[in-house]
């Protein structure tokens, strides 16, 4: 299977072109602030290096959230448009699971955190089983102080990855010896791991309705739903 995998869900931009589990070409950049301008040129370049034409792809795999809303939409729009226009398969993989997949030790617990501002995090906890992360605490948007006791209650050594700057001290204090800290590069998403996971997942059945997993409503939408609990909010866009 010829696969294009891409992750633009956060500051890191990672793209891989693979043939089954073999990596043909890959690039990971941590310095770009304009994923919109850089993603397609990087894809174009890697595909050329791998000597593949777009029409030869069988599947496109995208990290579909959580993450930066704009970043997610650049990746997901590229992936769903490519799958739609080439009539190929589309797979979405959790952006948190993609990073957890950097860890290969069987049965190891891995927590991945993205900073969600105001001391909130987007977080998920996984256990490595048969070489891939399996969800233990599902991906969610949660105040860090509510997540911490859940991590502690697992009462096992736990590798913590992601944007940890604001949380390291409190993790150390709460988890004590169970807190395992790894080098920074293991917190970077790798499109190769994403491609590996995405090849083992069933493709989405409806490409058109595929959207990022934001894990959070917009403030306007949340306020409105609170004021109108009985209204169905699914039918607001019409073709005219």
């Amino acid at each position: 299977m010829k696969v294009l995998a891409l992750d633009t869900s956060n500051q890191t931009l990672s793209v891989a072109v693979m043939s089954d589990d073999q990596v043909l070409a890959t690039t990971t950049v941590t310095t770009t602030k304009k994923h919109g301008a850089h993603l397609l040129p990087i894809i174009q370049d890697l595909m050329q290096t791998a000597k593949l034409k777009p029409a030869e792809l069988n599947r496109v795999i995208v990290a579909d959230g959580p993450g930066s809303y704009t970043g997610l939409r650049i990746g997901v729009t590229t992936a769903k448009t490519l799958a739609d226009t080439l009539k190929i398969e589309l797979v979405g993989v959790s952006s948190l699971a993609t990073i957890a997949a950097n860890i290969v030790n069987e049965t190891q617990l891995v927590a991945v955190l993205f900073d969600g501002r105001n001391d909130n995090v987007f977080a998920g906890v996984y256990r490595i089983q048969n070489g891939k992360p399996v969800s233990v605490i599902e991906d969610q948007h949660i105040p860090f102080e509510k997540l911490l006791p859940q991590l502690k209650a697992l009462a096992e050594p736990i590798v913590v990855l992601g944007d940890l700057d604001a949380f390291t001290e409190r993790l150390k204090t709460a988890l004590e010896a169970n807190y395992i800290h790894y080098p920074l590069e293991l917190s970077l998403p790798s499109a190769v791991q994403l491609g590996r996971l995405g090849q083992r997942q069933a493709p989405v059945s409806d490409i058109n309705s595929f959207v990022p997993r934001y894990l959070r409503l917009t403030k306007a939408e949340a306020d409105w739903q609170k004021q109108h609990p009985e209204e169905d909010s699914s039918d607001y866009v019409e073709k005219v």
Binding site: G36, Q44, P54, T70, K80, T81, V211, A220, V237, E238
Partner: protein, 340 residues
């Protein structure tokens, strides 16, 4: 002549639109998914909500545009897309999708200025003849643009504060009319009389610039003052007085521009170009300009749509003004001012 087919994208605000255009003049399909109902809940466009709707709609719109036009990707000559001005998150969906289609099928990519698109909606009435003058009035823009030739756009005047459409929405709110308020204010205006004589800002100045914030404030103050003394003003007369002031300023500046620049055509375009009061007024003003042909963008193409982007894109195609895969959204893209 070989058949030129452009797949065009527009997503700068609250409409996701994809169209297939033949030879820059024939609409084979023009799918428009509007989010107005969603944003009406909030009284105006919420950018993050808009971006989320665009990504829900984008490939469905592509599929529908292709199937309705009965064309395949092999038939296409190019992909055109609005890259600004507009909401950055909204623009990014169209730009990203357009680039992806262009890459996947090895097609040239044409970046289109949204305002050029509005002007070229008039192309579906008849070919544009140069030099031409365009009065562009929408929710985000109010400007007079001089077109010396194909692909040439120079601003000679623009609003210094609110866009005309923005002023309509703001006074609409005071009258209890939900966004977008233009159509309802226009309807009310036709039932009332200009009794309040609101200020016509900058109407006597030499420049071709507009200003609507003073008018908007005068309107709001009048209504608030009446509320305070327990007086009820006639909504139809308020609407008529407001619209008369807007139309006076737009028409006077346009007439002055037509006196200063000898042009073959005057083009009226943009969302507010659907306003009946404005259309009627310019119709009568233009009677004094025998040699100027007045073209109004078709009513159904005044709002945002991809057909107009395809028409403008066709001009760029002929001029070989292509973009590459680094194309990014440019939310504050503008035409240049005419050199003085």
């Amino acid at each position: 002549m070989e058949r030129n087919l452009i797949l065009a994208f527009e997503s700068s605000c609250d409409e996701t639109s994809v169209a297939v255009i033949e030879n820059g003049e024939k609409i084979l399909s023009n799918i428009v998914a509007t989010q107005i109902k969603s944003h009406q809940r909030f009284g105006g466009v919420v950018p993050e909500v808009a971006s989320r709707h665009h990504i829900e709609q984008i490939t469905d719109c592509i599929d529908l545009a292709m199937s309705e036009a009965s064309v395949t990707y092999d038939d296409l000559s190019a992909v055109a897309v609005t890259y600004g001005p507009g909401l950055v998150g909204a623009l990014l969906i169209g730009v990203t999708a357009a680039k992806t289609v262009a890459y996947a099928h090895d097609l040239p990519l044409i970046p289109v200025n949204h305002m050029a698109g509005h002007i070229y909606a008039a192309r579906y009435v008849k070919p544009i003849e140069f030099p031409a003058l365009a009065l562009l009035v929408s929710g985000g823009h109010t400007e007079l643009v001089y077109l010396a030739g194909p692909g040439q756009f120079e601003i000679i005047g623009e609003t210094r504060d609110d866009a005309a459409g923005e002023a309509y929405d703001k006074i609409g709110r005071v009258l209890g009319i939900n966004y977008p308020a233009g159509k309802e204010v226009d309807r009310l205006a036709h039932l009332g009389k200009d009794t309040f004589n609101f200020p016509r800002a900058m109407d006597d100045s030499e420049s071709f610039d507009f200003s609507f914030s003073g008018l908007k404030s005068a309107f709001i103050n009048t209504v608030h003052h009446a509320d305070q003394i327990g007086e009820t003003l006639k909504r139809e007369d308020l609407a008529a007085s407001f619209q008369q002031a807007v139309v006076d300023v737009l028409a006077d500046k346009t007439v002055r521009a037509l006196d200063a620049y000898s042009v073959k055509q005057l083009i009226l375009a943009g969302g507010v170009a659907a306003n009946q009061g404005l259309r009627e007024r310019l119709d009568s003003e233009l009677e004094a300009f025998e040699n100027v042909d007045f073209i109004k963008a078709p009513l159904k193409l005044c709002g945002d749509n991809a057909a107009m982007i395809g028409a403008a894109g066709y001009v760029s195609y002929q001029l070989k003004q292509f973009g590459d895969m680094t194309l990014n959204a440019d939310p504050s893209l503008e035409f240049d001012w005419m050199a003085s």
